[in-house]
């Protein structure tokens, strides 16, 4: 929607006012979680842009603690579901159980009925359970028996995935991975950060409890503001150029990438890049999106949407390398 300069200025002022909680959240969670600022920012982007986040990384990188702390700081409900090969869809969404006293079936809601869900090791569960969760993520409602139940708002699923070469895993199909707004690679902390972690855990330095710094209504208001953030046509065009360069590299003088890409980013990639860009602008307390916002989220938004060929895999080329080349070739408006 076209906006005048004055409207954008007013929106900017509103965002500066409403975005106070971003710093407060970072500070509060930073007391408990050492480092991992990138992961926290990506969680906030997922939360503000109504998306879900897929995390990939080895165990022990404070994934659970981060989302738990975030839920506490926002005063939201949090549930963790450990995905295992014998998990059933009903274990996630809920089921009907027979109540002998009342002589009727009653609904027993599953752990998905919460604001924050940590779907731990999502690739350990079979496809039908993954589908049930991903459908709930997309539709934001679940059907148990004859009734359909809306899920709470905000609703953020943080799914973690172990490296795929491990045995006994069911890799998420491309179409389902595409439903996550971002795939974030969680890296090891720096040495200094790990030293702090060590002190907290070994030397008995007690961590302060997380205090609520914002409520759900404020988050919902912020989400509404994020939707209103101005995205200029030039930035839209920049997003499209990037996405199209992953699909048709030849059009952007990137012929060398053609044999490396089996499929480019989907239209959902463009949409999510724009949404994540808006949320990033909000985190930077801005009422409009600039190319920097797009570039700062691009790796997390596109890395799971670019299919690589065997040739690329043989040459150890990752989606990030493809994105690097695309960014070098596409002109910034």
């Amino acid at each position: 929607m076209a906006k005048t300069g004055e409207e954008i200025r007013q929106l900017n002022e509103k965002i500066v006012g409403a975005g106070y909680f971003v710093d407060a959240l970072r500070k509060e969670i930073g007391q408990v979680i050492v480092g991992q600022h990138h992961m926290l920012d990506r969680l906030l982007i997922g939360l503000l842009s109504n998306g879900h986040v897929l995390l990939e990384g080895v165990p022990g990188l404070a994934k659970t603690l981060t989302i738990k702390s975030l839920a506490t700081a926002i005063q939201a409900d949090f549930n963790r579901i450990q995905f295992t090969p014998d998990l059933l869809p009903a274990d996630v969404i809920g089921t009907l159980i027979y109540n002998q006293q009342q002589n009727e079936f009653v609904v027993r809601r599953g752990p998905i009925f919460a604001n924050f869900i940590l779907a731990d090791e999502i690739n350990r569960a079979p496809a039908k359970v993954q589908s049930a969760l991903l459908e709930a993520m997309q539709e934001r409602q679940v059907t148990i028996g004859d009734h359909t139940y809306k899920l709470d708002d905000p609703f953020l699923v943080l799914a973690t995935q172990n490296p795929l070469e491990q045995e006994g895993t069911y890799p998420l199909p491309e179409a389902q991975v595409d439903r996550f707004i971002m795939k974030v690679i969680v890296r090891y902390p720096e040495m200094q950060e790990e030293q702090l972690i060590l002190r907290h855990n070994v030397q008995g330095e007690r961590l302060p409890p997380i205090r609520p710094v914002v409520n759900i209504q404020e988050i919902l208001d912020a989400k509404s503001l994020v939707r209103d953030i101005y995205l200029d046509e030039k930035v839209e065009r920049y997003i499209l150029d990037i996405v199209f360069a992953t699909r048709y590299p030849g059009r952007y003088q990137l012929e060398k990438l053609t044999p490396l890409i089996s499929y480019g980013a989907s239209p959902r990639g463009s949409i999510n890049l724009a949404l994540a860009g808006k949320a990033q602008a909000f985190l930077n307390k801005r009422g409009f999106v600039i190319p920097e916002d797009i570039r700062s989220v691009i790796y997390d938004v596109l890395r799971h949407r670019i299919g690589l060929t065997y040739e690329a895999e043989a040459e150890n080329i990752a989606a990030e390398n493809i994105i690097d080349e695309v960014l070098k070739a596409v002109n910034v408006p």
């Binding site: 200025r9 101005y230 200029d232 030039k234 409009f288 190319p291 920097e292």
Partner: protein
């Protein structure tokens, strides 16, 4: 009574048999013949297909597209002639085979009653067969260089001469009227940036376009002169990249602010004051001058470094 009935049945039987026989006799006939039954590999053979039918009959010509083991070299058009109340439809095919062996041209069917007899063909690679001969494989097609026939040569020269004369005539008639192209003068990136800035100042472009153009000029200059991949950099990245090129801190920060202002105008519909536009223009102009000066100074130092090398004791050695 019985005798009369038998007599009627006998007459009807004779009528039926007679009618059938006459009908059969009048139906079309089709024959196929070849001019030889034994060919060498690739030798053409003429296959003649002939249909004879009463003149009043409508006969569909046969469609012969393929014969197993044989290839068609040419097909003549269908010839039709009427003689003595009969129509004769004839077609010639030139066929050959590259498969040695005894093959049959199968019956060519017009209808259930009208079909040709099969024809046996011997395809041999040598005749008579001499087992002592070496094996000669089929060779690839050779390209023959194009050569104009002797009889065409003089015409060819005449056409060429005519074309040259026409070209000269056209040049003579139009050559003087054509304005001479100005010799291209190579301009450095700096000179071009300065010229573009002057042109921008003189032009009355809308504000949005003015700021976009201002940044474009700076980016193009940096890309060409400083080797910064500036066209694909965001303003933030660009500011970081050009930091080493600045010795004047305040100018650097002013440039940073101007780039942020340009982003505001480009991406947030910001409507700046006239004074801001003038100030932004001046900062970009100064920035271009400063970067150019810095690059020239660095180049000069490098040149001097190459010309002199200093020994450990501080003695300067002049290189020739």
């Amino acid at each position: 009574m019985f005798k009369k009935g038998a007599w009627i049945i006998g007459v009807l039987y004779l009528l039926t048999v007679g009618l059938h026989a006459s009908l059969y006799a009048q139906g079309p006939t089709v024959t196929a013949s070849v001019d030889k039954n034994k060919i060498l590999l690739g030798e053409p053979v003429l296959l003649t297909l002939e249909i004879r039918a009463p003149a009043a009959d409508k006969v569909q010509p046969l469609k012969l597209d393929s014969i197993p083991h044989f290839e068609f070299l040419s097909k003549d058009s269908i010839a039709k002639e009427d003689t003595d109340g009969q129509q004769v439809i004839r077609q010639y095919f030139r066929i050959t085979s590259f498969d040695s062996g005894r093959w049959a041209i199968p019956p060519i069917v017009l209808s259930a009653e009208a079909k040709t007899a099969s024809i046996l063909m011997d395809v041999v690679f040598t005749d008579p067969f001499d087992p002592s001969q070496p094996y000669h494989d089929i060779q690839d097609i050779r390209s023959v260089p194009f050569k104009l026939g002797k009889q065409f040569e003089k015409w060819w020269y005449m056409v060429a001469l005519l074309l040259i004369m026409i070209t000269l005539a056209v040049y003579w008639m139009t050559g003087e009227k054509r304005p001479r192209a100005e010799a291209k003068v190579y301009k450095s990136a700096y000179a071009r940036a300065k010229q573009q800035l002057e042109a921008l100042k003189a032009s009355k472009v809308p504000e949005n376009r003015f700021y976009a153009r201002l940044v474009e000029i700076l980016r193009a200059f940096l890309s060409e002169r400083a080797g910064v991949n500036s066209l694909q950099q965001t303003s933030g990245d660009l500011v970081e990249k050009i930091k080493p090129l600045f010795t004047d801190e305040s100018l650097y920060h002013s440039l940073e602010q101007v780039l942020a202002l340009c982003d505001l105008v480009k991406f947030a519909q910001y409507d700046p004051e006239d004074a801001e536009a003038q100030s932004a223009y001046e900062v970009i102009q100064k920035g271009v001058d400063h970067i150019e000066e810095g690059i020239r100074h660095a180049a000069k130092l490098k040149k001097e470094e190459r010309a002199h090398s200093v020994t450990e004791s501080g003695e300067v050695i002049h290189k020739k």
